[in-house]
Point group: C2
Chain length 207, copies 2
């Protein structure tokens, strides 16, 4: 099939504790050809987070400059910190036929869908509130008040999931990553993305 293909833009969101980071790691190990877009943020790095890998950590001043200079596809403020996505990197990858994965918050995802209606929005959800609560407590980074706040925030974010195209339940990391791969493969088969191929078939005379 000699059809020239454009990459798929996949946006993954989900509440804190949904397991996004581990699912993304599993997905990228199965599909190393996917370009994972590293977001820019003004929030301080957590233990173990590396600049340029987990996030590009920048100052508030630098982030505001990027907003002014139109360098961001989307950005959002979340719990007092900025998060944003570089426009140019993504455009270049998609044009080269590379699939691009974005890990962004609910607000940012809505902006991406506005600017790129062909983006595929996936919401990752924990299997239950009980499991989410267990995972947040297991982190040992937050007190009970902070956990209650995160659970409320999670419920609030889940209310936005009807704006997404797909809902993936993170029962196990392997099955969630496999479902995202299936979504990616299915999206590539969408009729409107393959009409040029169908047309070439119709118009070509038999040899």
């Amino acid at each position: 099939m000699s059809e020239r293909k454009r990459g798929e833009l996949i946006v993954l969101s989900g509440p804190s504790g949904a397991g996004k980071s581990t699912v993304i790691a599993e997905l990228l190990s199965a599909r190393p050809d996917i370009h994972f877009s590293v977001s820019f943020t003004t929030r301080p790095p957590r233990a173990g987070e590396e600049d340029g890998v987990s996030y590009n950590f920048v100052s508030r001043e630098e982030f505001q400059r990027m907003i002014r200079d139109g360098e961001l596809l989307e950005y959002a403020e979340y719990v007092g910190n900025y998060y944003g996505t570089s426009l140019k990197v993504i455009r270049d990858q998609l044009d080269q036929g590379v699939d691009v994965l974005l890990d962004i918050e609910v607000q940012g995802a809505a902006h991406v869908k506005e600017k790129c209606p062909e983006a595929v929005l996936i919401f990752l959800i924990p299997p239950s509130v009980e499991e989410l609560s267990r995972r947040l407590r297991g982190r040992h980074t937050d007190g009970e008040d902070a956990i209650a706040l995160r659970l409320d925030k999670a419920r609030e974010e889940c209310r936005e999931c009807p704006k997404y195209d797909y809902l993936v339940v993170n029962d196990t990391v392997v099955s969630a990553a496999r479902q995202i791969q299936s979504i990616l493969e299915a999206e590539r088969c969408r009729v409107h993305k393959r009409l040029r191929f169908a047309e070439s078939f119709i118009n070509k005379s038999d040899t």
Copy 2:
């Protein structure tokens, strides 16, 4: 995940020579839980075709009675023969959560989509006109005139593919069957099919 699920209704169409039968065989061997709906037809069996397996072969009179009695989800006349799908069997399977696969012509597929908008329509296309021509000649069942007619018919059917949800190119039987499996898995993750799960998540209080 205790969510009660309904089966997916998958409609597979494609021109004669696209390789539908072999792709379906491969798919059902990988996913024996899928119920393959055996169509009713008035066309005479080809060599090797078994009643109740390839088709339910019935007389023209019997088929017309089924139409009158409203027993068919869809039916179509194609090259002088009737083809149709039993409504009751499919409904029962879907209600039990079983995925159902229909192999039907373009006309019938449009009728199914009208009656069941949630049906997933997949169009199977050969990798090229040259390959289709080669496959039709390889069958040794048709003369050159019949082959020319089938190629024209194939092009005509492909014009209908924008009415489908997905276009799967049958480069190899294994990859085509895998793509259909991915489509099925992705469709099960569609947000509107999982809203009840998301709602239960939102409304359940932490324990």
